[in-house]
């Protein structure tokens, strides 16, 4: 009997919004260092599932196991404590704050002066400068500028850096390539592969199947709140995925 414990197991997750069932007995399993592509049409339940995982929504029914232990994720703080971080479609960054302020938001570094605890802005700036350059490989010169002045790719990198810096064990990326140019997309793939090398699991939500096939180890398909497919990427083909997404058999779809 195997002692293998997945990093995350979501079992029979149900979510109702009033009389509407948004998720119907959905299972999700992911190992450390694994990249799971989560695909589905709009309103398939992808965002709802992720919001349950990040503590924004509470589930109606089902169980969540983290490293083999049953857990309850009631709010954002619970998910962050477990090591689950998310990069949202709108990046989840505060546009009016600068890079270090965003990178350390909610987990600021502090120091004491005359017994009074204050934010250590200098240390946060130096640390983000080093981290963004060394780990993300991005050269941002205007660190003190609000990130509204950065390019889409730079903002994306800051959002990813925030998740990696805090040693997230699972990073959820919601449409990370949606608004990026070709070079920036390739850079994002490289960062995702680096996460895998560091044994960080990634749930990659994307409408672009080319991108999903480029990086995912496994692919999970949701349709109208139900899991309709879960397979190794090597065993899957795009036509099959599209068919599952729209609810047609492969022959009809072709």
């Amino acid at each position: 009997m195997s002692n293998h414990k997945p990093l995350l197991e979501m079992k029979s997750i149900v979510k109702d919004f009033g009389g509407l069932r948004a998720l119907d007995n959905v299972d999700l399993t992911i190992d450390a260092g694994e990249i799971l592509g989560l695909v589905g049409e709009n309103a398939a339940g992808k965002s709802t599932l992720i919001k349950i995982l990040t503590g924004i929504y509470s589930k109606t029914a089902g169980e969540i196991f983290w490293e083999g232990r049953k857990v309850e994720i009631n709010n954002r703080a619970d998910s962050l404590k477990l090591g689950i971080d998310a990069i949202y479609q709108n990046l989840g960054l505060v546009e009016t704050l600068n890079v270090p302020e965003n990178l350390f938001l909610g987990k600021e570094l502090k120091k004491k002066i005359l017994g009074i605890t204050i934010l250590d802005n200098k240390k946060m700036e130096n640390e983000s400068r080093r981290f963004i350059k060394e780990i993300i490989g991005l050269d941002i010169t205007n660190f003190r500028d609000p990130i509204i002045n950065l390019s889409g790719g730079q903002r994306q990198s800051v959002a990813i850096a925030r998740a990696i810096y805090w040693d997230a064990k699972l990073v959820i990326m919601d449409e990370p390539t949606a608004s990026l140019g070709v070079e920036e997309v390739l850079k994002t793939f490289e960062i995702i592969r680096n996460l895998k090398k560091n044994n960080t699991a990634v749930i990659f939500i994307c409408h672009n199947l080319e991108h999903v096939f480029e990086v995912a180890d496994k692919i999970m398909v949701l349709r109208t709140g139900e899991r309709v497919g879960f397979m190794n990427r090597k065993e899957a083909d795009k036509q099959q995925i599209v068919s599952l997404m729209v609810g047609l058999d492969a022959k009809t779809a072709s």
């Binding site: 989840g92 546009e95 009016t96 938001l105 909610g106 204050i118 509204i148």
Partner: protein, 329 residues
Amino acid sequence: MFMEEKEMATKMVVARGRSIGYYAEVMGPFLAIIIFALLMAFLAPRFFIPQNLINIFYSASIFIIMAVGMTFVITGAGIDLSIGSQLALSGVLMCFICKFTDLPPILAIPAGLFIGTVLGTINGLLIVKLRLPEFIATLATMIGYRGIVLILAGGFSMYRFPSEFIFLGRYRLFGVFPISIILSIIVVIIGYYMFRYTKFGRYTAAMGGNKEAAILAGIDVDKYKILNFALMGFLAALASLITIGRLDAFHATYGTYMEIDTIAAVIIGGTALYGGVGKIWGSFAGAVLMAMVTNGVTILRLPYFYQYVAVAVVIIISVTLYTLRAKRA
């Protein structure tokens, strides 16, 4: 549409470059003070008599203190219309404690500051717990608090308070320099450090810039919203102490329209009306500029009502300059 406006407004106050423009933007309100002073040097040299300059800062000190609190509120994407009524209500209660109880008059000061904090907290709770829009909640308390003041004061004024109660607004260092000016500058310095070096300031800016992102970062935005309004209430009570001390009197109309002048000072100072960006020193300069304009109208012997027009012109020029800068950025 709202998001577009917000983005534009945000760009207006965060647009930066490596050029002179950046410094012009940061120093804008201070430059406006210099330009206005030069204008007054030409129109009315009496403006520069030391006593008049002290009077300007003396009048400004009340608005400076209020503007610091309002900078936090607006940076957190909020608004507080009730600050004038908070000033009056905390004031009347302080005066009652001072006049009609056996407590030492000095105790009326901490009691008043506590009352102000409670009034601000009530605003915060209405917004957070009842989910009332800030404009509506503080409009309601503006009317309600003022009503209570009128009921309590009954249309009468109170005069001649013990010196230990009114010293903050009354006494002058070396008989010349009002200590309320020093107090207001201390409030600005503390406000600046709170803004720049504490979680309170950082999270206020974060929730004003992108509330959803702040929540996703694990920040308890409701808590910081309440704290913002509590601080505003505390500072309104402090401003009340100076207002009462200055004239050694209290009247139920104290603080009327003060929200307009305070919000104007904050916006002139470069704080983003839609939140996310706050400039404490800018608000200080905005309040001083407003006091200079009001004083200038008096020095030029123009009718009192002209000051409203003058303040409106200053606001329009300031916001136009920010807009032009944002379009270039």
